[in-house]
């Protein structure tokens, strides 16, 4: 993974000192609440319902075992012994005290980590496919470009006070696992004419209260122009994005209002100014960043070793876990393992300090000392030897991390919701749990098959409900918590936004509603058709009829 040099360390040290000074001035009353607000947000610090919440940046989701151990220490030392994986591949702590935050940031800096620009109206952490570098269907490893974007966007002096937050995702695989099309800028690594690798760029996607699928602005941009084109887009947005209404301030609204052709014209005008400037990437810089993501020291091994086959035949639970949680790797003899953090009764994405330490040990032992966080709030060990899968599985079992519901209905994406978040209209964690309790039979879950269910506690959509095959949104109806259900969303290559099924439901009705929806799917599916494909074939009506017939 990327390693800091003297420059990176210096900038981080400067940032920690800067925020320490800002915090002190705030605590001394020399900096007003409203003046401190964007400063603390750009260092990841929210003031939440119960305490401050600190969001730590995990660039494109990658963590080393050293960093995991530091996070475990932080969870233990500054928090109540746990942390939370977010839907943007970051980590949140729910209980640090404001006065401790500068020290906490200094601890993070020791392991090349920070909370820079994890919040606020600025360019946020760049996200990517959690299988980057190991995926079988990858054109090129996206992480080097993510790192290039991370550096360009960190402390960018012109774009620290944008109209609204700004999220970029990069996808290098054929099968899009990064929800690329619902980002302010979505970047696909593509092959152009003459087999040259470059970027296809989408702009104006996003979730929140006005969900939009991004629109293509450039079908091919040469590698060397990556940063100049980003700079041009951001400059148009910074100048012209709306600032009078925060709900209309995202770039998606600007692109919609301007029209993508006109918007592109403006970008081209700005791009002309910087296109061949010193910001043009050099081959040396691309190679320098790629080197950090060179393949680890793989052994020469064969696929499906006897040791694995034996265990798959003799241990049914292991076989069930293997069929859900283990995916093919581009290198023979290796597999990609996803550790699913969706145990019933635990808030999706929550992880304890002991689990973090355990994960660090397992990463060292089985996956070259690295893990990744996925936007579905799970953990990926990307480079596991197939002949060690069973050992890893047993070790995960000891840490209560061997859930085998990955990709199934109970692998819910869920925001912290009304239990923690000051913005939420409704709770989301108890909804996730009630659904998990309803569907507690693994055989039935595998029978239902691949389906994703996403829950957000308000229309800011941190739980990505718009792009859930089944989406659940908490709404406020005269002071009561209600839940609106939508169907047919997807964040994959054929991204689509879910359609609202009808009037919202009370909390206790939700598990039954989900059961009815799943029932309709099981009746109507043909062969091994997935939920989303059945939905696309038969539409919303059959679901609607059944759900509301039952409610009457």
């Amino acid at each position: 993974m990327y390693r800091y040099d003297g420059y990176d360390h210096q900038m981080l040290a400067d940032r920690v000192a800067q925020f320490r000074d800002q915090t002190n001035r705030y605590l001394d009353g020399k900096l007003s609440e409203s003046e401190f607000l964007p400063l603390r947000l750009q260092n990841g610090l929210y003031i939440q319902r119960l305490a401050p919440m600190l969001r730590i940046a995990v660039p494109y989701g990658m963590l080393s075992s050293l960093q995991l151990r530091k996070l475990a220490y932080i969870a233990n030392h500054y928090d109540k012994g746990y942390a939370h994986f977010t839907t943007r591949q970051n980590i949140q702590f729910n209980w640090p005290a404001l006065v401790d935050v500068p020290d906490l940031l200094a601890d993070l800096a020791d392991v090349e980590m920070h909370a820079i620009q994890t919040s606020g109206n600025c360019i946020r952490n760049t996200t990517t496919d959690q299988f980057a570098g190991a995926a079988v269907d990858e054109l090129e490893d996206s992480r080097a470009y993510c790192e290039i974007i991370r550096q360009w966007s960190s402390f960018h002096p012109e774009f620290a006070y944008l109209p609204r937050k700004f999220k970029i995702a990069v996808c290098g695989t054929v099968d899009d696992q990064a929800a690329t099309q619902v980002h302010d800028i979505g970047i696909y690594i593509v092959k152009g004419a003459n087999e040259e690798i470059g970027f296809r760029i989408l702009v104006g996607g996003g979730l929140g209260r006005t969900p939009v699928i991004g629109k293509e602005i450039f079908d091919f941009v040469e590698k060397k122009h990556l940063l100049t084109v980003l700079e041009a887009i951001l400059r148009v947005y910074n100048r012209e994005g709306r600032r009078d209404n925060k709900y209309k301030a995202r770039i998606k609204i600007l692109v919609k209002a301007t029209g993508v052709e006109e918007f592109k014209k403006k970008v081209l005008e700005e791009w002309a100014l910087v296109k061949d400037s010193s910001l043009t990437l050099t081959d040396e810089e691309i190679e320098r960043c790629q080197k950090f993501f060179d393949a680890p020291d793989y052994q020469e091994l064969g696929n499906s070793p006897a040791k694995l086959i034996d265990k798959l035949q003799s241990n049914l639970l292991f076989a069930a876990w293997h069929s859900q949680n283990v995916k093919p790797h581009k290198v023979t003899g290796y597999s990609i393992v996803t550790v699913c953090f969706k145990e019933t009764g635990v808030a999706p994405g929550d992880v304890t300090d002991r689990q973090l330490e355990h994960l660090a040990d397992l990463a060292d032992q089985y996956s070259f000392g690295e893990i990744r966080i996925s936007h579905k709030q799970n953990i990926v060990m990307a480079d596991v030897r197939q002949d060690q899968l069973f050992e890893l599985y047993k070790a995960l079992e000891t840490g209560a991390m061997a859930s085998h519901n990955l990709g199934l209905l109970t692998d819910v994406i869920c925001c912290p919701g009304g239990d923690f978040c000051a913005l939420a209209n409704a709770k989301s964690i108890p909804i996730a749990e009630s659904i998990q309790r309803k569907f507690n039979d693994h055989e039935e879950l595998t029978n239902i098959g691949e389906i994703n269910l996403n829950i957000s506690g308000c229309m800011n959509a941190c739980g990505h409900h718009h792009v859930g095959n089944i989406g659940i949104l908490g709404v406020d109806k005269k002071g009561e918590e209600y839940y609106q259900v939508s169907l047919g969303g997807s964040s994959k290559n054929n991204a689509s936004l879910g359609k609202i099924i009808g009037p919202s439901f009370a909390q206790e009705e939700i598990p039954g509603v989900v059961e009815t929806i799943v029932g309709v799917y099981k009746d109507k599916r043909s062969g091994d058709e997935k939920f989303i494909d059945t939905f696309n074939r038969i539409g919303l009506d059959p679901f609607k009829e059944k759900v509301y017939a039952k409610a009457d």
């Binding site: 964007p38 550096q151 402390f155 002096p157 012109e158 774009f159 006070y161 940063l227 100014l273 400037s277």
Partner: protein
């Protein structure tokens, strides 16, 4: 007199920012001043300004574009860019546009809600002088320019991005 600083010193401030609502009669009433006039004033009263015996500069609000003044830029010794509120980031882009697109070589001044914690970024984007808000301490503000020793980007202050320097 509003406090004025550069990146390394507290400066005398010979310029007066004219409020947006001011009418042309002020030119008669107050002769021999150095006025920074609103962009609209400058467009509306160009003749009166030509006859005025003091120096004239222009200030551009965050929702205005330097484009409107492009042809006359090089006759102006100073352009001020306003921050109606410190969290409005448009004037950073306007400063860069002045330098990059229009090759403006004169002084660029930050006016309005100019606070200590944004000064470093302003300097990177091409501002030379800073009329800090009345409650800001000038000595404390001078520290702000040392917040970071270096940055990753290609900026007006440091056109060569770090990847070409490291």
């Amino acid at each position: 007199m509003p406090k004025l600083i550069s990146k390394d010193a507290v400066l005398d401030n010979p310029w007066t920012v004219m409020k947006a609502s001011t009418g042309p009669e002020i030119l008669q009433a107050v002769p021999g001043k150095n006025f920074i006039v609103p962009l609209q004033f400058w467009t509306l009263y160009s003749e009166e300004l030509n006859d005025y015996d003091g120096s004239i500069a222009v200030w551009i609000d965050s929702d205005e574009s330097p484009e409107k003044i492009a042809d006359a830029l090089h006759s102006l010794p100073l352009i001020a860019l306003n921050f109606p509120v410190f969290s409005d980031g448009r004037s950073y882009t306007n400063a860069r546009e002045l330098r990059q697109r229009y090759a403006y070589k004169g002084e660029i001044r930050a006016i309005g809600d100019v606070l200590r914690d944004q000064l470093y970024y302003m300097a990177q984007c091409g501002f030379d002088s800073f009329e800090i808000r009345h409650d800001q301490e000038a000595e404390l503000c001078l520290e702000a320019f040392k917040d970071f020793k270096t940055g990753y980007q290609s900026t007006i202050a440091e056109p060569t991005p770090l990847f070409r320097r490291r």
